[in-house]
């Protein structure tokens, strides 16, 4: 694997300009020596203390970074490189070293001379995927053994090995998956902060709050899409927005009206949200038509003077004639709750306001507008009819169903009868043919003779003879003691227990190896491509080797355990034989099939 020396900058944070120096790496450790000998940024670290590595996506003028993570969460060593190429060289080296330390070597194209189809082997693994595999290998020593044996032994490819363990990987992945985050359940409330010296106030906006504002106030969203950046810059837009918010909060209606008249963009924020109003209308249509809020208002608390708290806790004192917004806290809460419950449509990458606005616009589909009044009216009537119907006067609304098809059982028994008759007249094997010399009549005659002899002789013959009794007793005893011996302990366990420890381990290893190989062997049938063909050849070769090893174990076993060993080895060799036979058959078939190279 060798070593590597490269110029790099050590950085404490990604933004840090870094200390230029030389990074040297070999299989065990890496050292960093700064160019400036006075600098204290000098270190010598063992690779065993490194748990993983991360690298950034390089776009534009950002430097290429490689971060070596330490065992504990305390961070790691971050290096910046002049070019992506250098970084990638370094990264590959680190990946190999780490892989070796952790018992896994990530795919290296040079390691597979027998790889006939390059594209199949060169899988692009994400760092997370590699991490998961390493973790699984580390947790399961048996898996690690298999991996070492087959993948490092070039019998199976990395991807082939893991393909049969997808479920393990998926389990691991599922465990890691995080809950999707939605909107915050707190109301959006951007408060200004004043520096206390000037008359300026500052609003802090994050993309997340902007996203939430857009979701909750579709009119603002629409305005943003319309005005920015053609008419207003982004900061101008938000300035106006907060100005309007300020006016609403102070309830300075006169000032608000005046300003709205002078500035049409500002007026947008001051007006009632017409999109929301439209949605509300649609929702009201869906409400149970028998519900009449206005009629109920008399017994309701709505008219009580304490109702209608504004969002700042002050009492409602708005003159209801005003053109401007009359938002109450309950309306805001309702809208907010609806948006939060709806959740984020997709995982939008919140990078700038523009993308947020566009993503939201995309995710929102306009509901089909059926503006036809009579249509709506008709629908309403239908609804009323449905709501007011008296259920026990209605015919049961029939559900669609498919009739269960049960065949006439008679048909089945008839077919049975036919089969039975056919088998009666059918051919017989040799044993039965011996009896054919005797016709049915003769047989019955013989039986009748027997019965009549019974009547004549009565029960004269002795039923038990002493020598016979002894034989029977011996046989029964033997059978019982045999079954008892076998039932007393698990036969497999008993067999294994008699073997010396190392033979036992060896056999177990071979058994797991055989199972793995057979799984790959059978799963590659039918052989439809050259890749599969090559795989079968490789697996077959490995199986042949194991077969020879098994034979060797059998032959070299101590005489006292030879019988047990051969009993244990037998199922293994049988399973392998079945595979070899299958392969042979396929080859014969393909040679019969003619010119096709792989037989399929």
């Amino acid at each position: 694997m060798g070593s590597m020396t490269i110029g790099a900058k050590y950085k404490t944070t990604p933004k840090d300009p870094g200390t230029p120096g030389i990074l040297r790496m070999n299989e065990d450790k890496f050292t960093f020596i700064p160019n400036d000998p006075r600098s204290a940024m000098k270190f010598n670290v063992d690779f065993r203390s490194i748990k993983g590595h991360k690298f950034n996506k390089v776009d534009g003028d950002k430097p290429a970074l490689l971060n070596l993570l330490k065992e504990e969460k305390a961070g790691g060593y971050m290096f910046g490189f002049d070019s992506v190429g250098n970084r990638d060289l370094c990264r590959d080296f680190v990946a190999r070293v780490l892989g070796k330390h952790q018992g896994i070597v990530p795919s290296r194209p040079t390691a597979r001379p027998d790889n006939s189809v390059a594209s199949a082997g060169l899988e692009q693994l994400s760092a997370a995927e590699v991490e998961r595999r390493v973790k699984l290998l580390r947790e399961d020593s048996e898996l690690q053994k298999l991996h070492k044996k087959f993948v490092l032994g070039n019998i199976l490819q990395e991807s082939e090995f893991w393909a049969t363990r997808k479920n393990l990987l998926d389990d691991e992945a599922n465990k890691a998956s995080k809950q999707r985050s939605g909107f915050k359940s707190a109301l959006v409330d951007v408060r200004p902060s004043a520096d206390g010296r000037t008359n300026k106030v500052t609003f802090q906006l994050t993309t997340e709050t902007i996203h939430q504002i857009f979701a909750e106030k579709p009119a603002v969203h629409r305005a943003f899409l319309n005005f920015v950046p053609k008419k207003l810059s982004e900061s101008q837009f938000w300035e106006k927005y907060f100005r309007a918010e300020y006016l609403l909060r102070t309830k300075n209606t006169a000032a608000a009206t005046a300003e709205a008249a002078g500035d049409e963009e500002l007026a947008v924020f001051l007006k009632n949200d017409d999109i929301l109003a439209k949605e509300a209308m649609l929702k009201i249509k869906r409400v149970d038509p028998t519900l009449d809020m206005e009629a109920d208002a008399g017994d309701d608390y709505i008219h009580l003077p304490d109702h209608g708290i504004l969002r700042d806790g002050s009492k409602e004192t708005v003159d209801t004639d005003s053109e401007l917004v009359r938002r109450t806290l309950s309306q805001d809460l309702n809208r907010h709750a609806a948006v939060v419950l709806e959740g984020k449509a997709s995982d939008v990458e919140l990078t700038n306001t523009k993308t947020v606005a566009e993503a939201l616009a995309r995710s929102k589909k306009e509901p089909p507008s059926n503006s036809a009044v009579d249509d709506a009216n008709h629908e309403r009537l239908l609804k009323v009819a449905r709501m007011t119907e008296i259920e026990d006067l209605q015919a049961p609304r029939s559900l669609p169903y498919a009739p269960l098809c049960i065949k006439d059982p008679k048909e089945y028994f008839d077919s049975q009868q036919a089969n039975a008759l056919r088998s009666l007249g059918g051919t017989n094997d040799g044993r039965k043919a011996r009896n054919c010399s005797l016709s049915t009549e003769e047989a019955f005659h013989h039986l009748m003779d027997q019965v009549s002899s019974i009547k004549v002789n009565k029960l004269n013959c002795p039923i038990i003879q002493s020598d016979m009794a002894l034989k029977v007793l011996n046989e029964l005893n033997e059978g019982i003691s045999r079954s008892r011996r076998l039932n007393l302990k698990n036969p497999q366990e008993g067999l294994l227990g008699q073997l010396p420890q190392h033979t036992r381990d060896e056999l177990m290893d071979h058994w797991t190896a055989i199972q793995e190989l057979l799984r790959h062997f059978w799963s590659s049938y039918p052989v439809t491509s050259a890749v599969l063909y090559n795989k079968v050849q490789r697996v077959k070769e490995a199986m042949t080797q194991i077969y020879q090893k098994l034979q060797h174990i059998k032959e070299s076993a101590q005489p006292d355990v030879r019988h047990e060993v051969s009993r244990l080895v037998k199922p293994m060799t049988q399973a392998l034989d079945a595979a070899f036979n299958h392969d042979l058959e396929q080859q014969q078939k393909s040679s019969k099939g003619g010119s096709r190279p792989n037989g399929f």
């Binding site: 088998s423 009666l424 049915t440 019955f444 019965v451 002789n457 038990i464 046989e475």
Partner: protein, 291 residues
């Protein structure tokens, strides 16, 4: 159906239903003459009746074309008592009638070819189970029922479904099926029957000592069995017969709807009518590791 589980059993009272194979073609070539076999059987039946005065024994004959009750110990009535000669007279008379009737039926029917060597095990099992159900429904305390099959002729694969159904209904009503093979071949049906219902399967080597086997292994009541070490079957032949040709098969196709078994790929299940639209791969090219 009244569930057998709710029944009150008398611990040590047995109801033994003995199924006797009366296949003429088997007995014509059997090592043990039927007359001797019959003597062993009668002694065994009497032994059971003597073990407990409440014990009941029923003998059912399974022929090639029909089955019949040959003997029922409850017919005698308590007054007449049980004696070997009494049992013997009644049973032998009934057997003679049954065999004569079988012979007539076979002769007149003509459909039973001489090669058909299997007896109606399924029919006999059904009769036995019906009898046991009748006992279950009368009175409050019941003898513990069990079935003993004395079979000589080979299995009839065409009875597979019927036999399996009987076995499962026996399992459901907690009736063990014991089997004693007096022929030369092991019976896969009875192996499965004994295995599933928790009975004893035995194939004696010395048929001349049949009574001893019967008395040693099959005479004890179910309660006492828990304390005895009885012979255990080691290898049970679990192979099934296909529904289409009644062949015993190692590997086959199973209907995904009704679990019917077929030896060949079918377009449509002949039992439940389900259609299998998906094209199946050739059986030979499928991995068959489950050998």
């Amino acid at each position: 159906m009244t569930s057998a589980h709710s029944k009150l059993y008398s611990d040590d009272v047995s109801l033994v239903v003995v199924l006797v194979d009366t296949n003429p073609i088997f007995w014509a070539t059997a090592a043990l003459p039927f007359a001797d076999f019959f003597a062993h059987l009668i002694h065994f039946v009497n032994s059971i009746l003597l073990l407990n005065h409440l014990n009941r024994v029923v003998i059912i004959a399974a022929g090639v074309s029909s089955c019949a009750y040959i003997f029922d110990s409850s017919d005698a009535g308590p007054a007449s008592g049980v004696g070997v000669s009494d049992t013997f007279d009644k049973a032998s008379r009934k057997v003679e009638e049954f065999i004569a009737q079988e012979a007539r039926a076979t002769a007149s029917n003509g459909s039973v070819a001489p090669a058909n060597t299997s007896s109606l095990l399924s029919g006999a099992l059904s009769l036995a189970l019906c009898y046991i159900q009748r006992i279950f429904r009368s009175g409050t305390r019941h003898p513990q029922p069990r079935i003993l099959c004395l079979q000589g002729s080979p299995d009839g694969p065409e009875q597979y479904v019927a036999v399996m159904n009987s076995i499962f209904s026996a399992q459901r009503s907690v009736v063990p099926i014991d089997s004693c093979i007096v022929g030369t071949q092991d019976s896969a049906f009875l192996q499965q029957a004994s295995y599933i219902t928790g009975g004893v399967y035995l194939k004696p080597q010395e048929l001349n000592g049949l009574f001893q086997y019967l008395a040693a292994v099959f005479a004890t009541d179910l309660h006492s069995r828990a304390f005895l070490r009885l012979p255990k079957t080691l290898g049970v032949d679990f192979r099934a017969s296909c529904f289409c040709h009644k062949k015993t098969i190692d590997m086959g196709y199973v209907c995904s709807v009704c679990l019917s078994i077929f030896c060949k790929n079918q377009r449509k299940c002949s039992t439940c009518g389900s259609e299998f639209s998906r094209v199946m791969p050739d059986l030979n090219s499928m991995p068959d590791q489950s050998k």
